[in-house]
């Protein structure tokens, strides 16, 4: 199975009451690539993310991750299998420090037995020291090491988005789902985020990306899927998408691309 696609979505349907948010979606994410999902507002991108990460259960269809069916699993179980994510609305643990946020990201990889922790057994204390070092490594990687002691809520938006990516990385994911990492960022911050995403890819982590900033998308993604009103209307390389007539009509018709 190691050579097949990392994530396979087949015949996915999601409806809320009478409203169909996603219709018959097919999606494959190859290992080691950056895959982008784009589409106008309300196209169903975030819904797709929420289904993949277990926040929602699909109405119909199958999702396979590393060859394993994952639809219907709970969010924390899916996280344990190696899918991590960020949120469109930045869900940091605001009352914790930058370092602690990343330490929480390591939760899956550590021993957190209730009584072991309460009794402060030696191996828990050793683990805590190791954990701190690992979290600092990640902060080094994302460039926030010097802010490790600040409260997360005191960071500017750009750094909060970066920290959220760092926290997601701490879970050692196979697949990292980024929900609009560049939204609300200025040009320098956007470039920094794009560089970080590339660096993550170079570490061998597959990235699934929802984004509006076309410059970022076209520069870093290997493959793009276009959704419109819950349906997939196109798929292919950035060059292919840029020239796809249907996409241009539905989404890029006003010529804003590049």
């Amino acid at each position: 199975m190691t050579n097949g696609p990392l994530l396979v979505i087949e015949d996915l349907v999601m409806s809320f009451g009478g409203l169909t948010a996603l219709m018959n979606i097919q999606l494959r994410v190859a290992r080691g690539t950056i895959k982008a999902v784009i589409g106008p507002n309300g196209a169903g991108k975030t819904t797709l993310f929420n289904i993949i990460t277990g926040v929602l259960s699909p109405t119909e269809g199958h999702i396979h991750f590393t060859g394993r069916a994952i639809s219907g699993l709970k969010a924390h179980q899916i996280a344990a299998l190696g899918i991590s994510r960020t949120f469109q609305t930045v869900e940091l643990f605001t009352n914790m420090t930058v370092l602690e946020n990343v330490m929480v990201g390591r939760h899956l990889r550590i021993n957190s037995s209730f009584f072991g922790c309460g009794l402060a057994l030696p191996h828990i204390r050793r683990q805590e020291r190791r954990l701190r070092a690992q979290a600092m490594e990640i902060l080094d990687f994302i460039g926030l090491a010097d802010k490790s002691r600040l409260l997360a809520e005191n960071l500017p938006l750009g750094e909060r988005k970066i920290l959220e990516i760092g926290r997601a990385l701490a879970t050692d994911p196979l697949l990292l789902c980024l929900d609009e990492p560049a939204a609300g960022l200025n040009e320098t911050e956007t470039e920094a985020a794009a560089r970080l995403i590339q660096a993550i890819k170079e570490q061998g982590i597959t990235v699934l990306l929802v984004e509006h900033d076309m410059k970022v998308i076209m520069n870093i993604s290997d493959e793009i899927t276009v959704l419109n009103y819950g349906e997939k209307i196109a798929e292919g390389t950035p060059v292919h998408i840029q020239n796809h007539p249907q996409v241009i009509e539905a989404y890029l018709g006003d010529g804003t691309i590049i």
């Binding site: 924390h76 869900e91 330490m103 929480v104 939760h107 957190s112």
Partner: protein, 319 residues
Amino acid sequence: MLQIRKAPIAAGMLFILIFPWAADRIPGIDHYPDVMIFAGIYCLITIGLSLLMGYAGQISLGHAAFYGIGAYVSGILTTRYGFDPWLCMPIGALAAAAVAVAVGAPSLRLRGHYLAMATLAFGVIVNIFFREQRQWTGGPDGMTGIPGLSLFSFEFDSILSYYYLVWGIVAAAFFFTIALIQSPVGRALRAIHTSEPAAAAMGIPIARYKIFVFAFSAMLASLAGSLYAHYMNFINPGTFDLFFSIKLVIMMALGGMHSIWGALVGAVLVAFLSLEWLHFFEQFEILIYGAILLLVTIFLPEGLAGLPAKLLERARRPS
């Protein structure tokens, strides 16, 4: 970084150690260690509640039920079946934990006021059973003849010995909880409190954590109930009613919901207010109790535990 400072702990421990000695030398307060025993029993419950309410963000208006389960398990097993009192404590704690898991699994899906009502309903139902299951519990008049505690040949039958026993157990629970808060478990709980979706995305099993904390706080409350029963040698349903659950929440609010110090300060303060100080005011007692509560919520919404930080901030700020 969440760190519990060592100096206040050392000061607190010293205070607890010498308190009976000091109180005995001051006329008028020589019975305070007796009040402190009940304060310690309340502390045991509020330590668990602080984890549940302050760290996991769940409200409970039914903890008097777990307090009662501990007391009645101890009372029934010792008086009717001749069990050793020490054995009853873990049995009671496990029973309370089992009930907490059974009730918590469906309840903790509920949010906010709905959870408050569900736990309140649970507490009232349990209290009705204490009252109505006469053949087991002795009914509304209560249960007499519960033996005291003894270890080998040492009897914990004086106020002083029971004082140190209770506060020793409180200290153990305190250190356990402090360690827990500073560990990955504590971080996970705070994460759940801030953002459930993000916590779940980090692989934290939210439901399991909530139930665990609920069960742990139930165990502490049950342990407190056992200690109460063996000290009083008597229990009745009125001690474990809804109003005690509300009193526990008042302790949390007065002391401060978000810190374990708040739990201790609130429990000791309410114990002394309600058991000792306020009765000087006779018919004005209720009024003054309400006024204190209102003033604290108005002027110190973070509770009394937030006071030192506030004063420190004020002192630092150039005026």
